[in-house]
Amino acid sequence: MKLQIRYNINNVCRTLLQEKLDNLNVQSELVGLGEIEIKKNVSEQQFNELSGLLKKYEIHVLDDRISALVQKTKDAIIEMIYMDEKMPASKVSFYLSQKLNYSFGYISKLFSEVTYTSIENFIIIQKIERVKQLIIEDELSLTQIAGKLSYSSVAHLSGQFKKITGITPSAFQRIIKKRRTGNVGAAK
């Protein structure tokens, strides 16, 4: 037997959302399309529950909290790389989950979704940025820079530098020097 049905997808969505919100005991009102106004503050747990429930229907909560957590992750990574003393030797995953109070798996997944890159790759990009800065400051040798940023050797650092930028650290150094001394080059 075949039944013909007719439905209004908009109403289906609204009803579903309202039901889920009511179940969670979240006082809320659907405002227009794709927006929910929540009357009272929701706890982290309620929020996660809600996101999880809705995900099943491929309804995604576009929330500032996710952006905020990703931003915090970035900040923590940058802070770690720019520490004055040597970078912590402990595993980054441990450092981040301690610092942000979420499992590394969760942080890592959100991070990739929002930034289009992995945490690991982001760290490499940031470390190479730091290397560039230290090369430009011209106070430390490459060996010292490698030590400071927890590379196992200069070769390891140079290899990663070349992989990310396509050029060697010494070529980078030459380019920056020539840019500064020449009349041509980047306008400041």
Binding site: V70, Q71, F122, E129, I136, R179, G185
Partner: protein, 148 residues
Amino acid sequence: MQYDDFHVLLADDDPDDRLFFKYAIEELKIKTVVTTVNDGVDLMNYLAEPNSKMPHVVFLDLNMPRKGGMECLKEIRSNKNFKDLSIAIYSTSGSEKDIEESFVLGANIYIKKPNDFNSLKKILAEVININWQYHTSGLNKENFVLSI
């Protein structure tokens, strides 16, 4: 942390190259808008026009009639208004000397033109991705170099 679409501009006189470039960009995960111009003169006019949407990255073909890529690179880098613009040189030459010279003149990215569409897609994906990271994480664009 909401960003507008990523915007790139390609200056290339070869209509086929322009088309391949557009197709390759359309397939990327990061939503990217492409504008194309046919040569260096059109490019400089576009950038000078106050109503133009400023690109995040400009891709410059080196050999173009009227005004070539190197000339555009120098002009753009001598204008402070364009200091946030990343410049990608798009060249058939892969010589170390040409690469280094382009960087010294202020280019950020040097792309050796690939021979097939798949390589082009891969290269552009990487270029756009790293530019996106620079754009969204406030990295210093002045030190940004990528040879690919």
